[in-house]
């Protein structure tokens, strides 16, 4: 068989393959450069960026759980200006769409971030994080309530011409209702899922392990929840989906694609295997060859009978 085509297009963001990175797990790219050929990634989604620099939460910020981790980083980041001045020029060396994950405490924050990034060359799209469970001021509220989520999305769309991917929280009764609200408000694509709200207790000290008490659960443990979310939203709406949550292998990535994801993001798996993204790209290509599928796009949503 001829080399299969892996290219996909997420709301105008053209990716040479469907594999991108999950925000917050891959830094600003340079950290993984010793292991990963950044030119081979479909796209990169960088660490969540805020208007001003943030200190984040006190440590301990993470705890390992069965097949997962809880994190409460608290959006530590150097702020959007530093991103534009330092991190972005580095990434522009590569043939790599850069998607900037943005987070704020108010609708105005999100709009200001979107406006600030709109003029910046080298930004391929925005991922709007309305679902971080580790920021107390608002973060979770935006993500859980369809109306406030829609308000954020409208404000962002009004402030930028870039493609807007909205990242959904799984900590809701109906992810489909949330998806409908943000698509109605103008989201060009959706990404899902962010972490599940969880916690762990140190029974010797009789206290929560994380200084922040609660954290976000990620990793293979949550994969079945994430696949279900992608499946439900794909069934209900016609919108490109970036699927993530516990993807470790190419087989895992293909589960999301067959559930309806146009692209996938690799998060926690980078911590286990720094070359996870490369191995997944190779594995997807191998699968297409083995199964005689000439184009990955044939598999998007293929498990819906």
């Amino acid at each position: 068989m001829a080399k299969p085509s892996l290219a996909v297009n997420v709301a105008g963001i053209r990716m040479k393959n469907p594999v991108t990175t999950a925000s917050g797990t891959f830094g600003f790219g340079s950290e993984y450069a010793p292991f990963v050929d950044l030119n081979r990634l479909g796209a990169i989604v960088v660490k969540g960026t805020t208007l001003l620099p943030r200190q984040g939460n006190p440590p301990p910020r993470i705890v390992e759980t069965p097949a997962g981790i809880l994190n409460a980083i608290g959006l530590q980041n150097p702020g959007v200006d530093h991103f534009i001045e330092v991190a972005l020029p580095y990434l522009r060396q590569f043939d790599l769409p850069v998607i900037v994950n943005i987070a704020g405490d108010s609708v105005e924050d999100y709009a200001a971030l979107a406006a600030r990034l709109d003029e910046v060359p080298g930004v391929a799209g925005l991922e709007v994080n309305i679902s971080c469970p580790n920021v107390k001021k608002g973060g979770l509220a935006f993500g859980a309530d369809p109306d406030s989520a829609a308000a954020v999305v409208r404000a962002v769309k009004g402030a930028t011409r870039l493609p807007v991917v909205v990242k959904l929280s799984p900590n809701v009764t109906s992810i489909v209702r949330l998806a409908e609200a943000v698509v109605e408000a103008g989201a060009d694509a959706l990404s899902m899922i962010n972490t599940l709200l969880g916690m762990a207790i140190d029974i010797r000290r009789r206290r929560p392990v994380l200084a922040n008490v609660m954290g976000g659960l990620s990793g293979p443990a949550i994969r079945p929840v994430a696949v279900r979310a992608v499946w439900q939203v794909y069934q209900a709406l016609k919108v490109p989906i970036v699927g993530m949550g516990g993807i470790v292998t190419a087989e895992d990535a293909l589960e999301f694609i067959m559930a309806g994801a146009t692209a996938v993001a690799v998060g926690t798996a980078n911590f286990i295997n720094p070359r996870a993204t490369m191995d997944i790209i190779d594995g997807i290509e191998r699968f297409l060859v083995e199964e005689g599928v000439p184009d990955i796009q044939e598999l998007i949503g293929a498990a819906h009978m």
Binding site: T25, E31, P34, P60, N71, I272
Partner: protein, 264 residues
Amino acid sequence: MVADVPANIVQQEQVGPGQYRLTLYAPAIASYAVPGQFVYIRCADSLDPLLRRPLSIHGVNRKEGKLFLLYQVVGRGTALLAARRRGERLGVMGPLGRGFTLPEPGRRVILVGGGIGVAPLVFLGHELVQRKNQVCLLVGARSADQLPVGKKGYTVPFDHAVATDDGSCGHHGSVTDLLEKMLAGEGADMVYACGPRGMLRQTALLLVRYNVPGEFSLEERMCCGVGACLSCVCKTAGNGGKPFEYRRVCVEGPVFRTEQLVWD
């Protein structure tokens, strides 16, 4: 140069109760490693436990491409590691982190290790001796059998003294007692420390009191090991008016200078 390699286990020796010395064949890592750096190890090919485990580099044999680690079994990851045998392969990333700053030749240097915390100090001691520094290693442990080095069967080629909490070997008391005596006596140009937080804090206080510069190797829970995830931060002195700043142990550490640290 940082690498992630499947490293062959050359030797796995038990050196004390729950203490092991592991020899890995990993030339790509051994050739670049400097004292104070660490490796990040996949203890088992399972999703449970999920994360790698950080271990300091205890020594290298660059000619033979060997890497030495010294570790204590404290939980599941280290227990799985101890069960791995000669000939098996482990995923090993490294060398990671910033190592110790090496002093000019001829300086008098004290190394202060608490328990398994001596692991990186032995590597450091070897390098310092080669660079013609005068080295003394102080090791503290709960009791004689818990001493990872400085005992029958595993000594180091430089001065060393021992303290045990129960007095079963060397000084009866804390390793920082030994340090204080030395600082008050002969003094030192530089002190390097690694061990439990309480011991490090005590060491830092002494260094401030005696006005001796020092470096500390810290531990924090990690995810990525390469600076990408911000999970491994510790509180450090702030710049530009900030009361403090969180710095990543995996890349800005694990070694920090006395004046960088905040001990609350």
